[in-house]
Structure formats: C-alpha cells, structure tokens
C-alpha cells in the first residue's frame, strides 16, 4: 500500500509540530528577560514565531504540492485537473 514517492514527501508534515512545541509550553518563554526593543521576552518570543511558522508551513506546502511531484501520475483527481470547474459534486 505504501506509495514510494509519497512516503518521502509526507515526512515533511512532521515539521508542522514545531510551532506547537514552541508555543504550547509557556514555561519555556514566560520570562521578562532578555528584552528586545523594549519588548519583554514573553512577547517578542511569541511574535517571532509568526514568521517562523509561516516559513515552516510554506516549506511543507511547497514540498507536498502535487504539481511539484514527479510527473506521470495516472490518477490525478479530476477536480485538481480542472480547477475552474464551477460546480463540483457530480462525483457521487
């Protein structure tokens, strides 16, 4: 059942765990020091995660995109192939 190509690209999904680890354990960052531009650590640390999380998500997105996968996929879903189709739903 394992698709060879997919297993490779799917590993990237694990990267998405990083923002959770970085942000859901407040003892890591609930401190006042070091300050940066007047912002206590607690605040700038969390702000810093916005661009980091964007970078991670975008990276995973680009790595798991179908269009960038090697060609020759026989069963490309019809919807993917015709993105402009107005009313999907005749599939059932």
């Amino acid at each position: 059942m394992e698709g060879r190509r997919d297993t490779g690209s799917r590993r990237w999904y694990w990267l998405l765990l990083l923002p959770f680890v970085g942000l859901l354990i407040p003892p890591i960052y609930a401190h006042e020091d070091p300050e940066l531009f007047g912002f206590p650590f607690f605040y700038w640390y969390q702000f810093a995660w916005v661009p980091i999380s964007v970078a991670i998500t975008y990276f995973v997105y680009s790595r798991t995109r179908t269009r960038e996968a090697p060609s020759g996929r026989a069963e490309r879903p019809p919807v993917e192939a015709e993105p402009g189709r107005p009313t999907p739903g005749d599939g059932s």
Binding site: P19, F47, E80, P88
Partner: protein, 520 residues
Amino acid sequence: MTVEHETKTATIVVFLALFLLVTVLGFVAARWRRGDLKILNEWGLGGKRFGTVVTWFLLGGDIYTAYTFIAVPALMFGVGAAGFFALPYTIIVYPLAFLFMGRLWSVAARKGYVTPADFVRGRYGSHGLALSVAFTGLLATMPYIALQLIGLQVVIEAMGVEGDWPIIVAFLILALYTYNSGLRAPALISLVKDLSIYITVIVAVIYIPSKLGGYGEIFDAAGQALPDKESPTGTPGSLIPEGASAHTAYATLAFGSALALFMYPHVITGVLSSKSQDVVRRNMAILPAYTLMLGLLALLGYMAIAAGLQIDDPNFAVPDLMIHYFPDWFEGFAFAAIGIGALVPAAVMSIAAANLFTRNIYKEYLRKDASDQEEAQTARITSLVVKVGALAFVLFLPNDYAIDLQLLGGVWICQTLPALVIGLFTRWFDRRALLLGWFVGMVFGTIVAASQEFAPTWEFLGITAYTAIWALALNFLISGALTLALRSSGAGDTADETRPEDYDELTEAGQPAPVAAKTG
C-alpha cells in the same frame, strides 16, 4: 483621565462615508463573477470560484473580527498577559488546519458537500450525527455573531450615538445585502475592510507609542498597573503569566481555540468557496500575516493602560485610546474599519449558519423534495433569523469580556471534532459512540461554563484548563470506549460513501495519513 464619548461631525461624516461605500459594494457584489444566485452553491459559496487572493481576504475577514479589534485588547487591558493567548492561537491554527482543511476541501468537492454536516452524513451514514454537527454549528455561531454585535455597538457608542437603533440599522443593511448577494458581498467588502484596518493598525502602533515614549515605557507602565487589576475570577493581572495554573490556562486556551476555529461553519464556508485544495493549503501558509496585526492590536490594551485612561468597560479600551490620540476624521476612519471588520464576519457567519440549516435540517427533515431555488430561498431567510438569535446572546449573557462569548462557542464546536476532523483521517470511531460522546461533551461543557458564570477555564485535579479541552477529553473517552464496546459486541457499522482517494490530491488510494494521531 476619562474619555468623553461625544458626537463630532468629522468623525460621523467619515464613518458614514465608509459605511455607505461598503453598502454599495455589498449590493454590487451580486454581479461580481456572476452566477445564478437562486442556487445555494452560488449564493452560499460564491460558486466555489475564489482564488488565492480572494480566499485570503475572505478568510482573513472571517477569522480576524471584532474578536481581534475589541475583545482581545480589552482582555489585555483588563487582565494582562492571559489575554495574549490569542497570538499563539492564531499561529498554531494554520499548521493545524493545513493538515486537515485540504482534505475537507477535496472530499467536499468530489461529493458535492456544502457544509461540515454534509460530510459527516456521508462519512458515517448517520443522520443523527449529521444533525448533531449542524445543530452545534448553528448554536456555536450565535455567540460569535454576538461578539461582532458588541464590537459594532462599542464603536457606535464611542461616537456618542446612544440607543439601539444604529445597531439595528447596520444589521438591517447587512441583512439586506447578504440576502441579495450571498457570500460575494462579504468577499468583496473584505478587501475594503482589510485595507482600512491595515492603515488604522499601522498608524496606531507607530503613532501612539511615539506619544507614550516607546514600547519599553508601555510595557513598564502595564507591568506596574496590572497587578492592581483583577480578573473576573479574582486573580490579579500580570505582565507575564506566572504559576502552573496560569500556564496551563494559557496553553489550553490557545490550543482549544485553534482546534475550534476551523470547525466553525463560517470558516469552513470560506474554505469551501475557494477553487482548489492548493488554494486552501497555500492560504494556510500566508494567512498568519494577519496574526502579526492581531498581536500588535492586542498591545493597544497596554497602550490604553500606559496612557492612563480611566475606562470602566474594558471593551472600550481601543475606541477610547483612538479618541484620545487620533484627530476626529481619522477616528471616524478607524471606527468604520472596526465596524466593517465586525460586519464582514457576521455576514459570513449568518450565511454559513443558513447553509447548515437549509442543507441539514430543512431539506433533511422538513422538505425532502425542496428544489434548488427553494433551498437557496430558505437559506436567505434563515440568514436573517440567525442574526436575531445572536441578539439574544448579547441581551441575556454577561458580556464584560466579549471574548467569553467566543470561547463559549469554542466549547461547543470542539465537541464536533471527533466526528468531523478525526473523521477526515479515519473511520475508526463508531457513529453511535460519536453521537453519545458529543452529547455528553455538550452537556458537560455547558454546565461547567454556566457554573463558572461563563469564565472560560475550569480547574480539575489541580489543573486549570480551557473548558473546551476538558469536555473534549470526556467526549473522546466516551466515544473511544463505546466504540470498543460496540466493536467487541459485534455491532456492525460499515456505511461510508467516501473512499480514501476522495480526500487527498497527494496520495494513492488507501493510505491513511500519518498525521492523524497528532490532530487529537
């Protein structure tokens, strides 16, 4: 010092001019990317033709609402760091949604699902479970719309206009163009809303700190003032969350809110209206641009402290700060931006709730043979009714902190997670077990919330956590145990109209995604 809420001509003129502009846009939207608005797919999902940019604006308008502009800064003003959980919440929500929203889009596109309940019915072959998802969606949306109403009310009052009539007028206009144009209206208005919000935020976070002596001074002032403040639960405010219970509350509020967000019908509507799974996934990577804005807006609560403003109702923290620092005309501009920022999501929420009611209650139980036109017409009328329901929440629940309304909605909507989100990855749970788990979670969550006077966290076994997480844990426990029990007693449960390849544009048939376990 106290801030006077007086009526100033320049403020009112600019405010009304912007409101007039979006009202016109709201009606014009009916002709944009023209489609037959007598069909639900066109009225309620904009014909599923929105690309990356429109989806970005629409989802941005959906997610960053009066919650962002009024409720979060109010919480920061009143209790300090505890309110900042909104930032980690709106960061982690995207990697989370990245994992499952693409799958939902794909299966919805292949099977013609318009609502989350459509999916659950198809996946589990259970009308009861679908009804539970539809009911929860409708219920949870109302306090969320109520939050928008409060946001609108606050800016109107801040302009010195008394009474309920301006809200009623604003909602009538909203109702009319929603009825007329469907999802196209908020999608188009989102563009104007975002532009004006961004201008307001950039001016506010540069100009106001320059008057207050910089961010260092603002944090110092907040750090000094916060310990003297008291949250509704009696704990003092603080600049940095201290102690285990503050930490667990912070983390679970962020996590629970993130779990909840993409199950709300209005956010799912925004996602399903986009034209491909690729658009959905790309948006999960670029939407956090708004999160920076949310974080900066949150700090306006501290600026209100640093400015020494005497504010009785914390919901006025942002408007009063703007009155204090901005010239009259820009105050009108900023208030209009906030007001429109409340109306856009309110429109999408009422549309999504209307889609749910029409597809999963009206057509399912009341008129099975409803035609397409009838379906769209019912949705239009329901979108009006839902707004009245939201008014009830404003009138009958305590709303010192408007955010508590949104968090109450989160307690409810989280109870659909096992059926909806886990269902996107695995069909392991038994439909009857899910239904019972949902029921117990709903009842338990509501009782706990009510017993706390709708404060969002609850302490159990020495751990303070967001009520939604406790209720969800109980829900999982029951769903899991009962599934195992039913399985061992040999009770069959096989109906599933979807196939594995319906979910993913990336994988071959039959592969469960490796990420399923993380989502819970």
